[in-house]
Symmetry: C2
Subunit: 266 residues, 2 copies
């Protein structure tokens, strides 16, 4: 994205976790300058600054952050309203934005600064590189001008940027919880069944990979297979018997099978 060089911004980050790390790497890669990072103790902020190699201020106090064009909150959802409530009055010229799918834009209203949202739809792990350019990013601003500035910033790191209001961002977040958090929990439950019978959870990896890959070409509806579609009671009962000692997982099995069946027999 060559145009990003024309719009180099100064950015301060609140948070130094997985999202903050990947965001900072992408922003620096796009030619922006991370001028400061705030983390609870300041030490993970310093480690992230060291990794970025641009200098900047590491602190545990938002008040000590340098002035910046953008202040991006990449911290836990709970922390967002508190950051806004305690936002220093000398930092009300730059745009304050959070990066959460589950928090409405209004959570930042009390900051007294121009505010908005820049939500990257992805799950981040510290040690796994991600291609930020491929991550869909969703922006919202307290007004049109803020939204456009956040759009410009987002477009410097992602090829897929769109405006999205808080109400639809909530839908997106719900979908992400289903397709990521719930899916991952099913990986966990499936692996547990194997481990309990002396089989390696890693046996599932080719299946998990292909299940995810398949829906690049087929819709999930077209890709659906398995005993639940046709309500194959013989197989369903055999599985239920295996889950007799795991009441919550058994409930999940029944409800998921019912949901699949109803999808195909509405």
């Amino acid at each position: 994205m060559t145009e990003s060089a024309n719009h180099s911004s100064t950015i301060a980050l609140i948070g130094a976790g997985n999202l903050a790390t990947h965001l900072a790497l992408a922003l620096v890669g796009a030619g922006h300058q991370i001028v400061g990072i705030c983390s609870r103790s300041g030490s993970s902020a310093q480690r992230l600054l060291d990794r970025l190699g641009q200098g900047g201020v590491a602190t545990s106090q938002v008040a000590d952050l340098p002035t910046a064009d953008f202040y991006l909150i990449a911290a836990k959802d709970d922390a967002i309203a508190q950051v806004a409530a305690e936002w220093p009055s000398d930092k009300r010229t730059g745009i304050l934005a959070h990066t959460s799918g589950g928090v409405p834009i209004d959570a930042l209203h009390s900051a007294g600064a121009p505010y908005g949202v820049l939500y990257p739809l992805q799950t981040f792990s510290k040690d796994r590189a991600v291609d930020f350019q491929a991550i869909p990013c969703f922006v919202e601003g307290a007004n049109e001008e803020i939204a456009q500035q956040l759009q410009q910033l987002a477009q410097s790191i992602s090829q897929q940027v769109q405006f999205l209001d808080s109400e639809r961002r909530r839908v997106l977040h719900l979908s992400a919880v289903m397709a990521c958090n719930f899916v991952n929990h099913l990986y966990d439950l499936a692996g547990q069944q194997l481990a309990q019978h002396g089989l390696s959870p890693s046996l599932l990896q080719p299946l998990i990979k292909e299940t995810a890959d398949k829906i690049k070409n087929l819709s999930p509806r077209e890709a659906q297979t398995g005993p639940a579609i046709r309500g194959d009671q013989r197989v369903l009962d055999a599985h239920r018997a295996l889950l007799a000692q795991q009441p919550l997982t058994l409930q999940l099995y029944n409800l998921m099978s019912e949901s699949i069946f109803q999808t195909f027999h509405p």
Copy 2:
């Protein structure tokens, strides 16, 4: 796998669907000969034989299949017992095996032939190539000798072959249902939420891919994120409100969130 050339077998297939197709391609690739294929009308059997380019008999009648070293049933679960019950007496020298995760070995007992199971743990689509060598395959035989012959056959097409009795294969099948069928249904439900609000389900693809990729390096337990872990009622309630008109999906949401919470707060 060079050793496979020393053990070229003749194989007849019952079934010409996705699994039969990928199995046939892998077997031919390993130097075996597909001497005949039986499908309901015979026409998809002929199409598959044409694709393999080795000749062979296409038929709709099991009785018309040529004699072979192995008869592999790659048909729907329901068809397996019927194939066994009607198994022709002139085909009782070769090994009859099914390829299903959900059907016990004994379903083939009535055939009067040596019988067993060769179960490849994967989901197959007609138009997607798969690397059979990477697919875990599980074999079981009515006796030790049959098991070994099936192992040898499986090892010619897969690098991951192990013996597994019907009881543990059922556990494996349950796990596969969770990690594939249920996961795919969550992709479907998540995409539906987006579509209902004018958003493209394809927005989820980078997230889905990363969620599957992550667990190559992290256990699903380590990889788990999201509002349900910490029981974040504000976010959970917001999601529940979105699902108010979808009672079954709302139940699923609650149960999945509860199962995640209990996993981390046992």
